[in-house]
Every structure is written in C-alpha cells, then in structure tokens.
C-alpha cells in the first residue's frame, strides 16, 4: 500500500491531494480570483497561496482520515509554472517532508495532468491534448517519454481566452473560461477570425491581437454581441485544437484521445473533439472539473507512479523551475 500526498500551486489554484493505490482520498483546492479585467500576478498569487495552504493541507488530511505517519511520499510541483507560487508551495512541501521524515518528489505539472487523466479514464494509450491557461500541447507516449507532437508556438489557449475575457471585463469567478463558455452558448452569429495552424503546431497570439483590437469596434458598431464574439472565438480556437490533435492521431495511428487541463472542462471543446473522434472511429476520454483543473491529487498520482518506480528527489535537488518540458522526464513507470 502506497500513500502519496501532492502539493500543487503553479498558477492561481492551490490544491493538496492524497492518493492511495489509485484511489483519491481527498482533493481540496482554492482558487485565487481577481476582479474582472485583471489577470493574476505572481507575487499576489503567491501571497494568496501562503494564506490558505496550511488550511487546505489540514483539510486534505482530515478528509482522507490520514495522519502524516501513514504517508509514504511527499510530492510537489517542480514546474513548469509561475515562479513565486511554485516556490511557496515547494517550501511547504520541503518543510512537511522533513517534519514527517518522508521522502520528497518533484513532479512535472503536465505529467500530473496526464497521469490523473489516465487513472480516471482508464484510457490505455491515448493521444493527449493538454490545454490550460499555461500550456497547450499534443502529447503521445513513446519509448519512455511523453513526447510533444504539437504545441502552441506562442501563448496557451487558456491564456488567449483569459486575456480576451479581460478585454470585455468578463468575470473571473469561477474562471474566465467558464464564463466565456456560458456566454458562447447564447451567441448566434459566426464572426470570421484568424486561424493559425502550422503543421502540428498552433499559434494564438495573432487571433488574440485581432480580437483585442477589434472587439470594442465590433461591439460599439452593434454588428455583433459579446456572446457572438465568445461563440466565434471558441469555435475558431477549438477547431485549431481539434485539428492538431487529429493530425497527431493520424501520424501515430492512435484511436484514443484524452483531454486534460483546465480548458478540457469546456463542454463545447469536448463536443467538437467527440465529433472528430466519431468520424474516425476513435474514442474520446475526458474528466470533469475536479481533475481537469489544477489539483493536488494529480501531483500525488504522478508522484505515486514515480515513487513506486524508484524516483526520489533529494533535498538539494528540490528546487522549482518555470521551464520544464514534458519530454524531459524519463517515464520509467511505463513500458
């Protein structure tokens, strides 16, 4: 029996989760929400995390009915992500690991998402679309690495959506993406926006600049509503994502798709991906907001896999990094 506790706080969500042999015992989380029109900055985000992390940790232990003695390993997000929040969380992880006398394990955030996706959906060897505010990658496992087949060459799709929300001062509660999704449902007019797929890669900064510039003009002229813009933006962005996923599937000969990351909660994206899958005779796997959105249990789950295959992070190596490629990790726990 192996019990792992995972600490995650690379962006504006702070979560602590406990996993025991494939069972999620607890997974509490808090989100730092900024006023409409504003994004979250590293120092303020770190401040938010510092204020709540110990409460969330206690909740995780209480909900799981676990004491520190029961824990086998303390996993934390090594990266990628925002510097100050990562440091805050790593500090707590290092401290409790030493307090409790448990080994430490630095986990790649992207791999956390993948491993939780695999656990929850039981997808065997899917093409993974990892989409969030900080990352947009198409990943497939091959020979001990999660290889990146396609990615964004500039900003992440979630970042594009979040920044668009700021332009229209859409509420960030519970998340800008969620509110854009609700507004998009009421949109009726399709507005043509730039579409940029480059082979297996995508580019979002062009479409973002375009809408940032044109949104107010279009709304003021009365030619379209904010809902129409939300709808059109989603249709365009998600088409790009479905396209690069399909390319990777065709190249790898894959019949399964797994969507992970915060943007993966979006039901329209899931719907579009499912339509593409059905046309190819492939199957879509997706999780709900408990596991799509950054959470502690996903770090615990990846940590569980890594720990059982012999990984451990020594204290001097327990630094964090803002840049950490998914393919840098040797996936020793899979064939």
């Amino acid at each position: 029996m192996t019990v792992v506790i995972g600490f995650e706080g690379s962006a504006n969500k702070i979560g602590v989760g406990i996993v025991r042999d494939g069972e999620v015992l607890s997974n509490p989380r808090r989100t730092y929400v900024t006023p409409p029109g504003q994004g979250f900055l590293p120092s303020e985000t770190a401040r938010h995390h510092r204020a709540v992390i110990l409460t969330v940790l206690q909740e995780a232990l209480d909900e799981a009915a676990i004491t520190p003695a029961d824990i086998d390993c303390v996993a934390y997000t090594k990266g990628p992500g925002m510097g100050a929040p990562l440091v805050t969380v790593a500090l707590v992880a290092r401290t409790v690991a030493q307090l409790w006398g448990k080994p430490l394990l630095g986990v790649n955030h992207c791999i956390g998402h993948i491993e939780m996706g695999r656990l929850i959906t039981h997808a065997s060897d899917p093409t993974v679309l990892y989409v969030s505010g900080g990352n947009t990658q198409v990943i497939a496992y091959s020979e001990r690495r999660y290889r990146i087949f396609g990615e964004t060459i500039d900003i992440a799709v979630g970042n594009c959506l979040d920044r668009f929300a700021r332009v229209l001062k859409i509420s960030n509660d519970p998340s800008p993406g969620y509110n854009i999704e609700q507004m998009a449902k009421k949109g009726t007019q399709y507005i043509e926006l730039p579409y940029a797929v480059k082979g297996m890669d995508v580019s979002f900064s062009g479409i973002l600049s375009y809408v940032e510039e044109a949104a107010h003009k279009m709304l003021d002229s009365g030619n379209c509503t904010a809902e129409d813009l939300c709808f059109s933006l989603q249709e365009t962005l998600f088409s790009m994502l479905v396209e690069i996923t399909e390319r990777a599937m065709a190249h790898c000969g894959s019949q399964e798709v797994l969507i992970v990351g915060g943007v993966g909660c979006n039901l329209r994206l899931q719907e579009m991906m499912d339509a593409m899958c059905k046309e190819r005779g492939a199957k879509l796997f997706a999780t709900d907001e408990r596991f799509c959105i950054d959470n502690g249990a996903m770090i615990a789950q990846a940590g569980w896999e890594m720990f059982r295959s012999g990984h451990v992070t020594k204290m001097p190596d327990s630094w964090i990094t803002q840049r950490y490629r998914t393919d840098e990790v040797e996936v020793t726990w899979r064939d």
């Binding site: 020979e143 990146i148 043509e192 082979g199």
Partner: protein, 235 residues
C-alpha cells in the same frame, strides 16, 4: 465508421474504393481516364462551424494543387495532379502503387534491427529533395515522415522520394519560414522515431550541401530550436 461519403461527392467518387483516412481527408483509389488514380477528398468536418470549414477546406485544396504544380515545374517529385473539383474539394492525382511512407520504412527498419546504413541513404535523399523545394521558395508547412513516400521498391541507396500533402503550404523566400519548416520536420521526426538524432543530422548535412541558401536556413533553425516553450534557456 468512416466509410460514408459526403453526399455531394458521391457521384464523383463512384467506382472508387476508400483506402484510408488521413488527418484532413479521405483517400480513395480508383481510375481517372484509364489511369490508376488516388482521390483526396477533403470532406466537411462536422466539428467545425460550416463557414470556417468551407474557408479552410477550399484554401487548403487550392494550396495543395498550386504547390504540387509549382514543385513539378521545378522537377521536384510530387504526384501528378490530374483534376481538381472545387465544389466537393476533391483532388484526383497519380496513384503511386506500392509506395510506402518514409515513416513506415524507418519504423520497420528499426524494428527488424536491420542495417541502419540504408537509412543513411534515405536521409541524404530527404535532405536533397527538401533543399530543392526550399530553393523554389515552397514552404511545405506540414513536413513529417508520413508526408514523404518511397516509390515501389526503391528503399536503400538511390531512394526515390515523393513529397505529398501540401495543404498547409505557402510561398516564402524567408530563411525564417524555411527554418520553421525544417523545425516542424525535426520535431515530427524525433518524436515519431526515437534515437534518430544522428540520422536527422545527416539529413541536415545533405540539405546544406544541396542548397546555396542553406546556411541562413540552418542558422534560423538553430534559433527556432531555442524558442521551444518551457525550455530551460540554460546551457
């Protein structure tokens, strides 16, 4: 499954058999005016908004036909385009009977543990044909080992390579665009065929030897490599 044809293309595709489904299109085999032909049908993607779908599908059909013609005029091996139907977005082209993708060839060679030197000849040829294409200022836009074919029986030295899938292509003389084109290939190459770094380097060496404009392109490729997201900029 994927064998239903979009209604409007059905008359055009009568007598053709579905062969495979790529990322963008369904490929059928049949005859065109008595010649063995392949029909690439960019069928409507139902997940996309119809306006967006029509715009993209049309643009890519046009680009593919244009780039193929341009390459052909420059003596670069691409399938001959027989006929393009712009309503149904079907391209009728030469069927390279018995050809295999470079991807499949590399995979089987690696799996069988065969003499990897035959792949060296292939890498040289790939470098040469890409140099020729870039010298024509054609940017492929989607270079992968699935988009290169080996003509029947021509594995080994003197490999007869054919480039396909020009849907994302465009014209550009900029070393930046050519560098990115090679970067796309490098990423696709190394993620699909692990442990082939030296083979890809051989490809680049051959590319450099075959084109006077290559040094600027390779320089850009080096820069683009460093741009990978979340990549540690140390060392």
């Amino acid at each position: 499954m994927a064998s239903d044809r979009s209604d409007s293309a059905a008359p055009l595709l009568a007598g053709c058999a579905l062969w495979k489904q790529g990322a963008e299109a369904r490929i059928y085999r049949g005859k065109f005016l008595g010649r063995a032909a392949v029909v690439k049908h960019r069928f409507p993607k139902r997940y996309r908004h119809p306006q967006l779908d029509e715009k993209l599908t049309r643009r890519r059909t046009v680009q593919e036909a244009r780039a193929a013609l341009r390459c052909r005029k420059a003596g670069i091996s691409v399938p001959v385009v027989y006929f393009v139907d712009y309503t149904t977005h079907c391209i009728f082209m030469e069927d390279l009977v018995g050809s295999i993708t470079v991807r499949d060839h590399i995979v089987t060679t690696q799996q069988s543990g065969d003499n990897p030197e035959s792949l060296g000849g292939l890498a040289d040829e790939m470098g040469r044909i890409l140099a020729k294409m870039h010298d024509e200022d054609v940017i492929h836009g989607d270079l992968t080992t699935s988009n290169m074919l080996l003509r029947n029986g021509s594995e080994g030295p003197g490999a007869d390579l054919v480039l396909i899938d020009f849907g994302l292509s465009y014209t550009s003389a900029l070393p930046e665009d050519k560098g990115v084109d090679m970067y796309v290939l490098e990423k696709a190459f190394l993620s699909t065929h692990p442990n082939t770094e030296s083979l890809f380097q051989q490809l680049l060496n051959s590319y450099t030897a075959a084109s006077k404009k290559a040094p600027a392109v390779i320089k850009k490729l080096d820069e683009v490599r460093l741009r990978g997201r979340k990549r540690s900029m140390v060392g």
